[in-house]
Each structure stands twice: as structure tokens, then as C-alpha cells.
């Protein structure tokens, strides 16, 4: 009871009060390296995009590589191979199967309506399936009943030229609620290394709705959807065919549009529950003169139930259909230009109570049949021990896979055209023969495999101090990447080991002051005939300090300090980022805030050698009615 009294009000709202014997209750007992970013955490971090918001998560690397692009990775593979993380928004997979990564500029929600972001470092194989190799990022928005009333936010600054969001939530009946929302933002270009405009200004308009209906206390139906329109400036270099080592500069505009609708029904009675979800997602993106249009349809059903007194079984089936149509650019070509990809998967997992309230085990596997590699099995096992309310010790072994992407199988990259004689001796006579420098896809690629060993411990040292540690050792084989010479064919003969860990400390130092700190370490060793790019793409050390201080009931001082080690692949030195914000609740319905981001540095490189992240300041006003 004493512990409950020490918790801040917002944490009281997260405590589950139903007994589901044998199944973990809440974050503290979870047998995985789980971190939860709540809507409050996000509000107090000052970040205005989802990609930036992930900077607060222990062990996650976020590096900006342009005004509207970011590399997000965890446990190594934070660069060109950042294709090993599954990203979901309200159950909809948003990573693009074309290249396995995520276009973060359009993964955008009304930040005020975020319920939480669950980040699992390490494989989430059983529940989430292929591609959840290094981690799962699960973004969950609040139910419509929790976003009632009106909300308007507007602001701007030197980098964020202007942003405005508004939402209105209402009640359709006693048991059904809805919300409609819209946002618009316009951002500045980033700076080129060496000075100058990187010509990547961008603007995004986004709107959506959500409708929730409660059939009864345990059964819910949801329909939600949204649509966006992104415009950006861009510049690129294209090789000129048939001429030795010559490029044209292209400057133009790119865009992206998308629409999705999700329908979900779920019933949860503590002892058992089921959910079924289906969604349709359309995206169309033109960037560097290539255009990709994609349609995705997905249906996912799952069910869990008690079996006897010691088992809690969960199983599910899912089917996903995704087709794309690519229009080539001078640098990249896909054969075939259009392809459809189907995945039928099922999973089953059993949570076993080995000793009531003390020792539990979870074993499970995901089975999948997909259009590229056929049949894949992904087993995993976890064991955890909760000797008392203050300790959780857990261990796991998993074997997830990553299915090759279209880029690795069907694409041909053209880096340039050269006359071999001139390339060898620029002063000598040309041979007259021009050859392309290319990297091609390989249709015979196998899927990448990982054997991941993890260990973790959580301890509540005092009611206001919690320590969370996770260690991992990952053994990868059949890694797909470019060969050592960069030219030739994608190969799947890479192997790698990564190891490291994350330590995070949550400390309620004073009634009005919460301090969340984390340290993470990762070491990547890559072997085999592939370019060991990622060894220099994952910073070894990261430290994050987030401070939330209530000066008075109405004034907040929020601080974020991020230390990121050097990243040689992008020529980035180690840097310290300082974000400082002040929020003033002027009245019950009006809130004003002022934020400075990257205050210590005028600019620095993060995930790109060519563009730099800059210092930014913005003000925002929020009005609720």
C-alpha cells in the first residue's frame, strides 16, 4: 500500500486490478526488454514526431538523416541494415516491405491522443512474427472515450515553421464514442554539411477518425482510419548513361499519399479473450523520381484461454496480402515492376505456471508461409521468476527470421557509368566502352536468421526507485547485404554477432520530480563476404536522462539530455543533445509551452554524412474545450 501512495497520479492509472493467474500483470513482470512511453512521457519530452519520440527509449538509436527522414534501430543494425524492426500503429504494420524499413515522415499521429508506445528490444517473434527480429515498436492511440471534447494546438519555431492540430471527440450514445482529428505542419530544410540548404523542406496534412462502441464492459468494437498528404522538396544526383563518370543534378518535388482503415473487435474477460482485426492500407510515394504504389490488406485473429489451472494458451492466425507497383528512376530499377506478396501465418504460445505466483514459463512458435521464402518457423521460449513484489528475473531464447525484401531480390541499383580504361588511367585513351556500375538483387536469397539469448532483471529498490536491466547476445546468420566490393549481387552469406545491454533507472526523486535515466551498450561484429557497414553504424554507447519537474501545480520544467557515441559510417562525432522545455497551464483549458531542442550544438551530423541536425526552438499553445 505504501508503494501505491508513493506513485504519481498518472501511474495509478496503469495498474491492472484483475487477477489473471499465470499471465504477467503489467510492465514490472514482463519477461522481455519492454519499455513503455506513455502519452504523458511524450508530452513532457517536447518531441513533435514519432521518430524523435523514440529517442527517449533506452537502447534505441534515432538519427536524423534529413529534414524528414530518420534511421531508427536498436541492438545494432542502425543504418543501412535497419530493416529488422517491426513498427505497428494500432495493430497496422507500417514498415514498408519494399525495403524493410519505415518511412517515418508519414508515421504520424495526433501526439496528444497517444496512449502509449510499447517498445520491445529483442525478438517479438511469437506474437508479432517475421521482421520483428531486433525489436517491435507498437504505437497505440487512446480510445475515443478517453479523447472527448475539443483540443486545438498551434505553434511554430525556427525549424518547425508552423504546426497546428485539432481534434474533437464526442459521444454517439452511452456506449459509443468517436473522435475526428486533423493536423498540418510545415518544416524547414536541413543544413548540408559544409553549409547550404539541403533543399528538403516539407509539409504534411493528416486527418482521421476513430469510433469505439462498447457492446458491454468486456466487448469492444473499433473502426478507425486516416489519410495523409506529404509534400517535400528534394535534390538528387543521377548518373548519365553512356557517358563516363557524369552525373546530372536533379532538383524537384516528391510527395506521398496514404489512406488506411482498420476494424477491430475484441472481448476480454480476464480468463479468456479474443480479438479480430482487419485493415486496408494504401500508400503512394514518389521520391527521387521513383514511384511506389502499395495496397495492403490484412486480417488477424487471436484467442487466449485458460487450460486447466496452470496453462494460459494464446493462438492466432493472420493473412496479409501486399502488392506494389514501382515506377523506376534512373538509379533504381525493379524486375518485375509489380509484385504481390502473401503471408499466411499462425502462432501458438503457452504460458505455464510452474510455481504459483513465482515461476512461469512461456513457450511458443510462429509458423508462416510467404511468397518469397516459403515456410518459416520461429520458436521462442521464456522463463521468469518473481520471488516477490520487488524482483523479476527473466531469460529467453528466440529464433526469429527476416524475410528478404523486394529491394534485395528484384532491384538493380545503378551507381554510375564508367569507361574501364579511363577509370584505370584517367590520362590515357578511352576504350569507348561504357559499363554500368550496378548492384543487383538476388532471387535465391534465403531468409536471415537469428538466435537471440536474453537475460533481464527488474528490481524495485524503494517505492520510488526502480532498476531495469537487460542483456543480450545475438547470433545472426544468412545476413543479406551488399557484397564487399559494393558491386555485384546481394548476398546472404553474412554472419554477425551482437551483444550488449541496457540499464534504466526510474527515480521519483521528490514528489514533484521524476528522473528517468538509461545507459545502453552494443557491439557489432560482422563476418563473411558482405560489406561490414553496420559495424560503424551503431553507436556503442548511449545515455539518456529525462527529467520531469513540477515547479508548481501549473508550471513544468522538462529536460532531456541525450548522449550518443560516434557513428563513423556517417562521419558523426559523439554528441550531447540538450532539450529544455517549460510548460505553463495558464488556465484549466489553456496550456503554453516553450521548447529548445539541440541547445548545445549549432548543428551536428547524426545518421547522414551530408546533412546535419540543427538547434531548434518552438512555442506552442494548447486550448481544450
Amino acid at each position: 500500500m505504501q508503494e501505491l501512495l508513493e506513485l504519481p497520479l498518472e501511474r495509478l492509472m496503469d495498474i491492472p486490478v484483475t487477477t489473471v493467474a499465470g499471465v504477467q500483470q503489467g510492465w514490472f513482470q514482463a519477461p522481455a526488454a519492454l519499455h513503455v512511453v506513455t502519452g504523458e512521457d511524450l508530452r513532457r519530452s517536447g518531441h513533435r514526431t514519432l521518430a524523435d519520440a523514440l529517442r527517449v527509449v533506452p537502447g534505441v538509436f534515432v538519427g536524423s538523416s534529413g529534414a524528414h527522414s530518420w534511421v531508427v534501430g536498436m541492438r545494432g543494425f542502425s543504418g543501412s541494415l535497419a530493416n529488422k524492426t517491426l513498427v505497428l500503429i494500432d495493430g497496422r504494420a507500417v514498415y514498408d516491405p519494399l525495403f524493410g524499413g519505415t518511412f517515418w515522415d508519414v508515421q504520424d499521429i495526433l501526439l496528444e491522443d497517444l496512449e502509449r508506445i510499447e517498445v520491445i528490444r529483442g525478438p517479438g517473434a511469437t506474437l508479432w512474427g517475421a521482421n520483428a527480429v531486433n525489436g517491435v515498436i507498437n504505437v497505440i492511440t487512446r480510445r475515443a472515450s478517453e479523447t472527448q471534447g475539443g483540443y486545438v494546438k498551434a505553434g511554430g519555431g525556427n525549424e518547425q515553421h508552423g504546426f497546428t492540430s485539432l481534434r474533437y471527440g464526442g459521444k454517439a450514445s452511452d456506449n459509443s464514442h468517436y473522435r475526428v482529428w486533423g493536423k498540418y505542419l510545415q518544416n524547414d530544410h536541413s543544413e548540408r554539411t559544409g553549409g547550404g540548404d539541403a533543399h528538403d523542406e516539407w509539409g504534411l496534412g493528416h486527418g482521421g477518425f476513430r469510433y469505439d462502441h462498447d457492446l458491454d464492459d468486456q466487448t469492444h468494437v473499433t473502426v478507425q482510419g486516416d489519410s495523409y498528404d506529404l509534400r517535400f522538396d528534394e535534390q538528387a544526383r543521377f548518373p548519365v548513361p553512356g557517358v563516363h563518370d557524369t552525373f546530372t543534378r536533379y532538383r524537384g518535388h516528391g510527395w506521398a499519399r496514404g489512406t488506411n482503415v482498420i476494424m477491430r473487435a475484441a472481448r476480454e474477460t480476464g480468463d479468456s479473450g479474443w480479438s479480430i482485426q482487419t485493415y486496408y492500407d494504401f500508400t503512394d510515394r514518389q521520391q527521387s523520381r521513383a514511384e511506389i504504389e502499395r495496397h495492403t490488406a490484412d486480417i488477424d485473429a487471436r484467442h487466449h484461454f485458460r487450460l486447466g489451472s496452470r496453462n494460459d494458451v494464446m493462438w492466432g492466425v493472420a493473412y496479409r496480402y501486399s502488392d506494389d507497383d514501382v515506377r523506376d528512376s534512373p538509379s533504381i530499377d525493379f524486375q518485375p515492376a509489380a509484385r504481390s506478396f502473401k503471408t499466411l501465418s499462425g502462432f501458438v504460445q503457452d504460458t505455464i505456471t510452474l510455481m504459483p505466483e513465482r515461476v512461469f514459463a512461456m513457450i511458443g512458435t510462429k509458423l508462416e508461409r510467404n511468397s518469397f521464402t516459403g515456410f518459416e518457423v520461429q520458436p521462442s521460449g521464456r522463463l521468469w521468476w518473481t520471488p516477490n513484489d520487488h524482483h523479476t528475473l527473466w531469460a529467453s531464447i528466440s529464433r526469429p527470421v527476416r524475410v528478404p525484401t523486394r529491394i534485395e531480390r528484384d532491384a538493380t541499383f545503378t551507381f554510375g557509368f564508367i569507361d574501364p580504361a579511363l577509370a584505370a588511367d584517367p590520362e590515357g585513351p578511352p576504350s569507348g566502352v561504357i559499363v554500368p556500375l550496378q548492384l543487383t538483387g538476388n532471387p535465391d536469397l534465403k531468409s536471415e536468421k537469428l538466435l537471440a539469448y536474453e537475460l533481464g532483471h527488474r528490481v524495485r529498490l524503494t517505492p520510488s526507485l526502480t532498476l531495469d536491466t537487460a542483456l543480450f547476445y545475438n547470433d545472426y546468420w544468412d545476413i543479406i547485404f551488399v557484397p564487399k566490393g559494393t558491386l555485384g549481387e546481394f548476398t546472404d552469406e553474412g554472419t554477425a554477432e551482437t551483444f550488449g545491454g541496457e540499464l534504466s533507472v526510474q527515480w521519483r526523486a521528490l514528489d514533484r520530480w521524476v528522473l528517468d535515466t538509461s545507459y545502453s551498450y552494443v557491439q557489432v561484429q560482422i563476418h563473411g563476404p558482405i560489406l561490414p557497414q553496420d559495424q560503424s553504424e551503431a553507436p556503442h554507447h548511449q545515455i539518456k536522462v529525462l527529467s520531469a519537474f513540477d515547479v508548481t501545480d501549473d508550471i513544468e520544467l522538462n529536460t532531456g539530455i541525450y548522449f550518443v557515441d560516434q557513428r563513423p559510417a556517417s562521419g558523426a562525432d559523439a554528441y550531447v543533445r540538450l532539450d529544455q522545455g517549460m510548460t505553463w497551464r495558464a488556465t484549466e483549458s489553456i496550456e503554453l509551452s516553450l521548447w529548445g531542442q539541440n541547445l548545445l550544438d549549432d548543428r551536428h551530423r547524426e545518421a547522414s554524412a551530408n546533412v546535419q541536425a540543427e538547434r531548434a526552438v518552438y512555442v506552442a499553445a494548447t486550448f481544450k474545450f
Binding site: L9, S272, H303, D553
Partner: protein, 209 residues
């Protein structure tokens, strides 16, 4: 191109329907309609923690207290699961804003009591600062709110639709968690000031000004 995509879609539709049909059959066969098992002890402790937080984040007008040393009075009305937990916690808790917190339980008359008896009960409850209503019917809770009619009492309830029916804060069970609703109109009509911190976390029912 168009023809082949239509054909593809028909085949897909069939296999999707097949997968859905199979899973629905299996799920409906195994579903049980057992009720949620609430951990009563945990729920009581959580509500007690909430109540103390509400006391911490509320400000009463000066004339609600007889003297600067007067305690903050927390009155429980009805069959409350938090009674024991709250009693032990309040006796050990630190003062809030310089005032100690005092717990009392209202002696509610049984059914068949006359209106006069209820009126005298309301009188005795008027000196309270926080009134917590639980385990009563919606009508009785509403009658108590009307009967007390004081504008310097923070009314909190553990009754369905409490906030929607005029109470200031009501507990709600959402899924497997306990959260709370706040009636902005009732809060504004009262002279008790509830911190924006609480309102920000509450689900708002009842329109504000």
C-alpha cells in the same frame, strides 16, 4: 493487367474467407462468458490511493475550515470497500497543506427511513470536505448530492455514471484498470478548486464553461 489483378483478388478473397471462417469457428467454440475476476484487495488499495491524491490536489476555500488547524474531513457514505484500507492509511498519513486528514463514516439510515431522518443525515455530512459515495443506488447517490447542497464539498463516487449524474469525480473500470471521470460543470459550480493536474488525467464528462 486489370484482369489479372481482379483474378488475383478473387483467389485471395476465397483464402481469406477460409482462414477467417476456420478461426471464428474455433474461437466461438472455446469462448466462455466468465466474468472478470477483480482483485478486490488491489482495487480497494488503488481507490484509497486515488482518494488521497484527490485530497492532495484539491484546494478548499478558507471558510470551509473552522480554524487554520482544522483537519480535512473525508466522509464515506455507503458500503465502501476502501473503509479498512483508508482507515489504516489515514491514521499514518502526513498532513496535506498543513492539515491532518480525518476519516469518518456517515451513519446512513436503513430502508424505510423517513425523509426527515435523511435530512438530518445530510446536515451531519455538510461539514465534510471530501464525500466518497459507494455501494448505493444511483438515485440514492443523487439524493445525497442534492440533499447536501454544499458548494465546498468535493464529491467522489464509486457508482456507475456518478460523474454524469452530478458528482464531481467518479471511478470507472476500463478494461482491467480503474480510472476516473470528472464532471467539469459540477467542479466549476463548486468552490473547491481541483488541480489541472487531476483534470488533465480525468476523462471529462459534463460540459465545462
Amino acid at each position: 493487367m486489370i484482369l489479372s489483378s481482379i483474378c488475383r483478388r478473387a483467389a485471395i478473397r476465397r483464402s481469406i474467407l477460409g482462414a477467417v471462417a476456420l478461426s471464428l469457428m474455433l474461437m466461438l467454440a472455446a469462448v466462455d462468458s466468465g466474468a472478470q475476476t477483480i482483485d478486490a484487495d488491489k482495487a480497494a488499495k488503488l481507490k484509497a490511493a486515488y482518494l488521497l491524491n484527490f485530497v492532495k490536489y484539491a484546494e478548499w476555500p478558507d471558510d470551509a475550515f473552522a480554524s487554520p488547524d482544522s483537519p480535512i474531513i473525508l466522509t464515506l457514505a455507503g458500503q465502501c470497500d476502501v473503509t479498512n484500507v483508508l482507515a489504516s492509511v489515514v491514521s499514518q498519513s502526513e498532513p496535506v497543506g498543513g492539515r491532518t486528514v480525518k476519516l469518518q463514516a456517515a451513519a446512513l439510515p436503513g430502508s424505510g427511513a423517513s425523509e426527515e431522518q435523511w435530512q438530518s443525515v445530510y446536515e451531519s455530512m455538510r461539514n465534510t470536505h471530501l464525500l466518497y459515495v459507494c455501494g448505493l443506488t444511483g438515485d440514492r447517490a443523487h439524493a445525497i448530492l442534492e440533499g447536501i447542497g454544499a458548494d465546498d464539498v468535493l464529491t467522489v463516487g464509486d457508482i456507475p455514471m456518478f460523474a454524469s449524474n452530478g458528482g464531481m469525480i467518479g471511478f470507472v473500470l476500463r478494461g482491467n484498470r480503474i480510472v476516473f471521470e470528472a464532471n467539469l460543470e459540477a467542479i466549476h459550480q463548486s468552490r473547491v478548486e481541483v488541480s489541472a493536474k487531476v483534470l488533465q488525467l480525468a476523462q471529462i464528462v459534463g460540459k465545462g464553461p
